[in-house]
């Protein structure tokens, strides 16, 4: 039997880097094949080449035994290849239906889109795989899991037989991952071939039939999923064992650093997205918030750092009411913030590193005073961050987008922690960065805790929450529905609370 996909000797160079170096990949028909590797191992580049978004410098590609040469995704789509991107390729201000049919619109005379036919075809596809979605909503109103579903339906709508899923589980809770895997198995049963990128080893081992491991742009192994252990896979991926966040001794004190009282936040429509939240975080304590995205975590963070209006309730900082104070006042008082989306809120991508390091601290020594930036001071401090937090960069004058995701995040963590903060609000601090950088970030947060930092940690990575937190609270529909001790909770339990399943079964906290 010919393979569905056969890539031979693929090489792709970018200025200064070789993203893919003589990569080989063979995917049999009807299998789920995982491509794993650290961030920067060249997985995404390889997938882009396979999907026709980039042309390889060297190497050949065969699809179903035929030699192909893609110059655009259209060519790939014509060959039955569909891709679900890691960063969703959805337009917020278009409807679900418009997003799905884009590029494959059924039309009648005059180029008019036949929306009826599109909807009919769509609901047929959706029913077949048990994926439901309201097609006339704007995408901007959807949550992450729903957006992913739209992306998958989009690919199925085109009748793709070879699906590329680029880190599909990154933003899902265990139950959603389970649902996704169920869908993947159904797809496989109906004859589809799935190429699946992931770096979570347990998931890879659970779902895939075979896997290919990339490291530094090279293929290091291809194997069947029979008897391979997570340990072996980890060693192949990183060359050393995977770090895990271990809970260490408690450093929690009695001194309340951040207190929220009856905090309520409304969204633009006047709906309560954060509802009567009460929370105390002590010096030396990490409180983790678990929850499916879109349950008010973002608004809670905004309320604490001062970018959202607080409808009622108070935020206080060492007993001082800061509910009405500006973001800058709060930051000057010692509030540090690691934002969820480092590209949008964390960095100025086209500015040099030392300017980025000064962001949010521009009014404070050593970066500057009220009016003036202190260039020398800022540069010296940036060098210090670079050294202490192992930010790998040629120098501090390169712009932030030249850094890998992990190094960008280390810069942000360094910027926030070197300002001697009292309270840290960290939203998804290790999202989308490789295991090495992840371990470094965990160590940094733990070290800061030992020095008395009070931390509010929001994360979708449940192992991270369990490993780092002293207390875990679960947020559902804007409320805290459970308070759990990390020592006796598993990711599965947490997932049950997060989706509300545990509460329906009477297992309330």
């Amino acid at each position: 039997m010919t393979a569905a996909i056969e890539l031979t000797g693929i090489t792709k160079r970018f200025p200064g880097v070789i993203a893919n170096d003589n990569v080989n990949l063979t995917v049999e028909k009807g299998e789920i094949h995982a491509v794993c590797g650290e961030n920067g191992a060249g997985k995404s580049t390889l997938m882009k080449i396979l999907y026709g978004m980039q042309a390889p410098d060297e190497g050949t590609m065969k699809v179903n035994g035929e030699l192909v040469n893609f110059s655009s995704p259209t060519d790939a789509i014509d060959r039955g290849i569909g891709m679900v991107h890691q960063h969703f390729m959805l337009a917020d201000q278009l409807t679900v239906l418009e997003n799905i049919i884009l590029g494959a619109e059924p039309t009648v005379s005059g180029g008019r889109i036949n929306f009826k036919e599109a909807e009919a075809h769509l609901s047929q596809v959706a029913d077949e795989y048990g994926l439901t979605i309201d097609v006339n909503q704007m995408v901007e109103s959807l949550e992450v899991g729903e957006r992913q579903r739209v992306e998958i339906i989009k690919v199925l709508y085109r009748g793709a037989e070879i699906l590329i899923l680029d880190e599909p589980t990154a933003v899902l809770v265990p139950q959603e991952v389970e649902a996704l895997f169920e869908n993947m198995r159904e797809l496989k049963a109906s004859g589809a071939t799935i190429l699946f990128i992931d770096h979570k080893l347990d998931e890879v081992l659970e779902i895939s039939d075979s896997m290919t491991v990339l490291r530094h742009g090279k293929t290091v192994a291809t194997m069947k999923n029979d008897g391979v252990t997570a340990h072996e896979l980890a060693e192949l991926m990183v060359g050393s064992e995977l770090p895990t966040p271990d809970t260490s001794e408690s450093t929690v004190t009695d001194d309340v650093a951040l207190e929220l009282k009856d905090l309520t936040v409304l969204n633009e429509d006047g709906r309560q997205v954060v509802h009567d939240i009460n929370l105390r975080i002590h010096r030396g304590e990490i409180v983790g918030i678990a929850g499916v995205e879109g349950n008010g975590q973002g608004e809670l963070v905004d309320a604490i750092i001062g970018t959202a209006d607080i409808a009622s309730g108070t935020v206080s900082f060492h007993g001082r009411d800061i509910t009405r104070e500006s973001v800058r006042k709060r930051r000057e008082a010692g509030l540090a913030y690691v934002p969820e989306d480092r590209h949008h809120e964390g960095l100025l991508l086209s500015s040099p590193l030392w300017e980025n390091a000064a962001l949010g601290h521009q009014t404070q020594s050593p970066y500057g005073s009220n009016w003036w930036l202190d260039r020398d001071g800022a540069r010296a401090q940036t060098e210090l961050i670079r050294e202490q937090f192992d930010v790998r960069t040629p120098n501090i004058d390169v712009s932030a987008h030249a850094l890998s995701g992990g190094n960008q995040q280390k810069l942000i963590i360094g910027r926030e922690l070197t300002s001697d903060p009292e309270v840290l609000v960290a939203a998804h601090p290790t999202r989308g960065i490789d295991v090495g950088a992840q371990a470094a970030v965990w160590d940094d947060i733990r070290a800061a805790r030992r020095n008395g930092l009070a931390t509010l940690l929001i994360s979708a990575d449940l192992d991270e929450l369990i490993g780092l937190s002293d207390t875990i609270v679960v947020m559902l529909r804007g409320e805290f529905v459970a308070t759990l001790a990390p020592a006796d909770v598993t990711p599965r339990d947490l997932g049950a609370y997060m989706t509300g399943a545990a509460l329906q079964n009477g297992g309330a906290a």
Partner: protein
């Protein structure tokens, strides 16, 4: 009641808004010493001013929906003016319009080459076109008409009176002029409404009719067709379109060229219909005001038309308002509008907006009380002031294309 209003079909809702607007004008007029606010000629001038503004704004809509900022509309309008005049003189009126469109398209093509292919900043390219266009047309005028500033007389495509409502002829038979009859009854409000309507329906330029027809056509094209969906993805998330095999660059080119063509039609209208000749400077910044109408109209065709008519009304009124009394009455309209906005902001508990609206409203009222006339610079400034205020009060409700003005390179996500 508001819920019921939203249940009405769009045309009925708009008609209701228009009727309400005229009611406001009539009330203000009853307590002012002017009659110009609701005269036939005011409506006619409004339409004549509004057509090129609308066409430029609609051109901006095509370009910006595809993600390209088009501040070069003014230059494309000027190219349309010259080519329209030249075409009209050389081949006749309808050819004049076609050649005017072509001239604008050349400007659009230039803008597309600069911004889409060479990634030039959209504002810089647009400003360059605005500088280039008057210079080129001046040179061409000198070469062809031996005069750098003016052309010979052009011919126009003519106009049309709507039968029955405004006394148009049907197969040679002169139909009754219903609106004229109603105006002559001199009933408060009803006759004012009839006069304004008659100004729009009698002696209406074919270009104006085409322009109005472009509203539903554009809605259909942009929101109902494959072409429109693909054009919109260029302005919303081009990478998503590219991932589905859409040639983003091609759509951007088409959109910007259409944009230039529409501005060119607006320019041809100015030279062949409004002034009857090409004259440098006659564009009078209408391309920029078109851009203002685009923002005012929230990047939607109906909104752009509304903005163009609003601005056209202010200009048209000013043109016929030699003693400044009508513009003075407009101050009271402004004050009432601010009161409305302030009330709206108050019910939404937007404190800052309420205060700003109250201050501006009281300011306009105060000005109205102390002055008898208003200088004409006020009318020329008003469109920009209106757009600034729209941005102040309604910025959160404006939905500009997400990727507007962002550089796009193939294969980069």
């Amino acid at each position: 009641m508001i819920a019921k209003l939203n249940d009405l079909p769009a045309w009925a809702r708009w008609a209701l808004y228009a009727a309400f607007g005229v009611l406001l004008l009539t009330i203000v007029q009853s307590i002012s010493d002017t009659e110009r606010l609701t005269q036939v000629a005011t409506a006619r001038e409004m339409l004549r001013f509004a057509v090129p503004i609308f066409l430029a704004g609609l051109g901006g809509l095509f370009s910006e929906r595809a993600g390209v900022v088009n501040i070069g509309l003014e230059g494309m309008l000027i190219l349309g003016m010259w080519f329209g005049a030249w075409g009209s003189i050389t081949y006749g009126a309808w050819w004049g319009l076609a050649i005017g469109i072509f001239g604008g398209m050349l400007g659009g093509l230039l803008h597309a080459i600069a911004t889409v292919t060479f990634q030039v900043d959209h504002i810089i390219s647009g400003v360059a076109i605005n500088i280039l266009a008057p210079a080129i047309t001046r040179y061409l005028s000198e070469e062809i008409w031996a005069s750098p500033t003016t052309s010979p007389r052009t011919s126009a495509v003519g106009d049309w009176d709507v039968p029955f409502l405004a006394g148009g002829t049907v197969f040679g038979w002169e139909s009754p002029d219903l609106l004229l009859t109603i105006s002559q009854w001199e009933i408060w409000y009803l006759s004012d409404l009839a006069q304004l309507s008659r100004g729009l329906l009698r002696g209406t330029s074919w270009v104006a009719i085409i322009a109005i027809a472009l509203v539903p056509f554009t809605v259909w094209l942009i929101w109902r067709t494959r072409f429109g969906l693909r054009l919109r993805i260029c302005g919303e998330k081009p990478a998503a379109g590219e991932a589905q095999g859409i040639n983003i660059i091609r759509y951007k080119y088409i959109a910007v060229i259409i944009s230039g063509g529409l501005a060119g039609l607006g320019g041809a209208f100015i030279s062949t219909e409004l002034s009857g000749l090409f004259q440098g400077g006659n564009s009078a910044g209408r391309g920029f005001i078109g851009l203002a109408a685009l923002i005012f109209g929230n990047w939607r065709p109906g909104g752009v038309l509304l903005g163009a008519l609003l601005f056209g009304y202010v200009f048209g009124l000013d043109l016929r308002d030699l003693d400044g009394t009508a513009s003075h009455a407009m101050l009271l309209v402004n004050a009432i509008a601010f009161a409305g906005v302030g009330l709206w902001a108050f019910t939404r508990r937007r404190k800052a907006d309420t205060i700003i609206a109250a201050i501006l409203g009281v300011g306009a009222l105060f000005w109205w009380i102390v002055a008898d006339t208003v200088p004409s610079w006020w009318s020329n400034t008003l469109p920009y002031v209106v757009v600034l205020l729209v941005l102040v009060f309604f910025a959160q409700r404006l939905r500009m294309p997400v990727s507007l003005g962002m550089p796009y390179r193939k294969g980069e996500t």
